[in-house]
Amino acid sequence: MIHERSDRIPSRAGKLRTPVGSALAALAVLVATGCTSGAPALAPGTAIRDVPVKQGGSLVIGAEQEPDCADWISSCAGSIWGTYLMQAQTIPQVFTVAPQGKDWVPVASDLMASTPTTAMVDGRQTITYRLNPAAVWSDGQPITSADLKYTALQIRDGKDIFTQTGYDLIDSISTPDARTAVLTLKSPYANWRQLFGAEYGVLPAHLLEGKDRNALMKNGYTFSGGPWRIASWVRGTSVTLVPNERYWGRKPHLDKVTFQFTTDTAAEFQAFASGQLDALYPTPQLDVLAQINSLGGSADMQVETRTGNLQALWMNNSAFPFDSVAVRQALAHSIDRGAIVRKLFGSLGVTAPAQSFLSPLVSAFAAEDFAVYQRDLAKVQQIMTAAGWAKNGDGIWSKDGRAAQFTIVSLAGNQSRELTEQILQSQLRQAGFKMTIKNTSAANLFGKVAPAGDFQLGLWTLTDTFPEPTLDATFGSTAIPSDANGNSGINFIRAQVPGLDSVLGRVGTEVDETSRLQASRQAERLIADTVPSLPLGAVPNILLTGKKVGGPIGINPVQGPFWNLAEWGLAK
């Protein structure tokens, strides 16, 4: 679970728009609606759409962002579009995420001969990986346990690593044979499936060991252990993938896929409408929703509401007035979260507010404890009065000469956030709180403001990157940015909920799923009781495809919309 500090997160929920983008969008809607009517074949909350395909051909897909670099275990791993375009297509992973009933669940990929197993041996957790003997790199070399070992140690011991979570617990990794690796952890790690399966995959030791990995990978690489390999990456223009002929699994139907960087949203939609782009994966902003409606019946749309993106209001528990539990509870009762969610994403099928800090991707572990917080101004009055607050002449709650007024910070230029802030401002004013808006850039917000705790109220998205609960990263007191954790913790709100650390510890280390689920529910209850922050709602993902695109098409909430690109093709 991470805050949208890098473009891995904002790309889906709060990407900083270009200055011209917003202005363009409105115009594009006007222009486009003049020529088309109706709406795309809309399927909110749909499962995978399957269209028969033929062999051969090529597709051009719009990419809203260009990855900065392609070393997927360094900070480059923060690029969500990098993951979609290159990493997911070329780097094999131990676990992938696949739909199972209404949930997306981790399953062993075809890299593995069998599902990895974990066990407690002499009080230590071990994980055994058995690789598929057919698995080979694009140069024909087998994918071996040495590759797992190399990757694990690079992440555990390396510099400039995107995140070492989980890998920092690795005590040793043994390779009894070329196809078997056994990982021993220093302490139990309940989210062990994330290893080689969430942010990272497996890298080829025979090509990278003893060399400067970053230098070899940052501008793209020729090796592949996935269905595709990178044919070219023209900076600022496109990435082209061609089939990896040595891929041992299901080979791609298409001869070539090009991701064209079209960073302007309005132009991207026009390129799609004109047939220059065959598919789009736009950030679900307000302007995008309007533009989708202008496409007419020329497109098919997949909407995935079971995402890992959760928008929330973040209250700085160490800053006035949110250092008071009563104020936080009162604020939670001041807001009609359902109205905000429906306003933002109601047309895409998100109609109910989130009642948990676990996103829909991790819903199996989530409770509904925040459901008690409904807009109820009488309740606000009761809580604030009991806590010694009284309204001043301006109708604002005040105590000891200090009024309950505060500033909210979010991403400048993000239309949906700005709309949310305006609604909040109005609702809070009615409840006796005065809120001012002061937005900033993503770099400033997540690079300086939030880590330094230099805010009162924040509005941004939390993203789960794997279907495992990781609330400890956001609410654990040890994750408060400090010298002790190298200021890398992401408990930006400085939450210190009594009793929560130990419960979250159990969620993170309890290997027994039933006990873990109980602990997770208990943690949720503790969090809801003291309201260190307030969840608003899930942010859906949208995929648009032209009529020529076929295949099983659907959005994987972890690996993105192109997770099964090998199965895409030209529609029959």
Binding site: L24, D160, R235, T237, S238, F261, G275, G447, N487, S488
Partner: protein
């Protein structure tokens, strides 16, 4: 002429040094070069980079270090892409210059034509129409115009006539797999060039008209008319030559602004030029790209100013370059 050019270039150096220091200081004061590293899990990363880049030194010292590296061709490494800055800017500049070349070429020819016509037929119906259109052109922002052109010249024809592909493309400068100057290139180039040209023609044609009217009101023109010099000869040999000098100056100065000023056009048409590089760098707070980028634009302004002066002297023999 050569002495003048060399002297002007020499005069430009102090301007560049002062400009570069102001740019360096302003960018460093605005952006944190280590912002990305501050999110790193490596606790020593910030300290190491601070020492490596000399960020613990005073601003003048940092500037001198940077300038020394800059003049020796070491423009640094982008914090966004980890790539060398010099080829990044070089590649972007090449793309922008292509766009500029075609835009300025077409705009100059069309603006001169319109300006001459309007001046020669002042207050005619054609003059009123062209004057009105030029105001419309000036009023249309590039982001609006670009999208309208895309809709009218690419999206709509394809949908209206059931074409398999749009007659004009508008994503990048080449289709996938294509390169070089060919039909595909011009099909990509047409819309951004038209967008650029319309804006330039709108203002340049007004300028040409005014310059031509001034020239046509000159005593030498009256004398030429009295002597019975044909109207066409008066227009093109006498008035235009005098009107060209200020026109060329405006073209040169506007061209300088285009080097870094095509942000919107390049963004709409997904063209990886200087404007788009600036935008992505500023959004990422990539100071190591921003500073040389600004310096390159500053150099372009000086060079185009110089070109304007030289062109002015070539066109107007009364101006002596000393």
């Amino acid at each position: 002429m050569l002495r003048y050019t060399v002297r002007r270039l020499a005069y430009s150096l102090p301007v560049l040094v002062i400009a570069s220091f102001i740019l360096f200081w302003a960018v460093r004061a605005t952006f944190d070069p280590l912002a990305k590293l501050r999110q790193s899990t490596d606790p020593g990363a910030v300290r190491r980079q601070t020492e490596l880049l000399g960020l613990d030194r005073s601003a003048p010292e940092q500037y001198l270090l940077w300038m020394k590296a800059f003049v020796t061709g070491d423009w640094g490494t982008s914090t966004r892409t980890s790539g060398a800055v010099m080829p990044m800017i070089g590649s972007a500049l090449e793309v922008t210059l292509q766009l500029m070349f075609w835009g300025v070429l077409f705009a100059s020819v069309i603006a001169l034509g319109i300006g001459i016509y309007s001046a020669a037929r002042q207050y005619s119906a054609g003059d009123y129409v062209l004057t009105g259109l030029s105001y419309v052109g000036i009023a249309m922002p590039a982001f609006w115009l670009g999208l309208v052109l895309i809709q009218l010249l690419a999206v709509w024809p394809r949908q209206q006539f059931g074409l398999s592909e749009p007659p004009l493309y508008f994503v990048g400068l080449h289709s996938v797999g294509e390169s070089g100057i060919n039909l595909d290139y011009f099909r990509h180039l047409a819309l951004p060039v038209v967008t650029l040209t319309i804006g330039l023609v709108a203002s340049w044609s007004r300028f040409t008209r005014t310059s031509m009217l001034e020239a046509l009101a000159g005593d030498y023109v009256r004398t030429a008319r009295a002597k019975g010099v044909p109207r066409r000869r008066i227009l093109f040999r006498h008035a235009l030559r005098n009107a060209l000098a200020p026109f060329v100056t405006v073209v040169a100065l506007d061209s300088a602004a285009l080097v870094g000023g095509l942000v919107v056009t390049e963004q709409i048409y997904a063209i990886p030029g200087m404007g788009r590089l600036f935008l992505s760098s500023i959004l990422a707070g990539d100071v190591f790209v921003l500073i040389p980028w600004m310096l390159v634009v500053a150099v372009a302004v000086i060079v185009f100013n110089l070109l304007a002066d030289v062109a002015y002297a070539l066109l107007d023999p009364r101006v002596a370059l000393r």
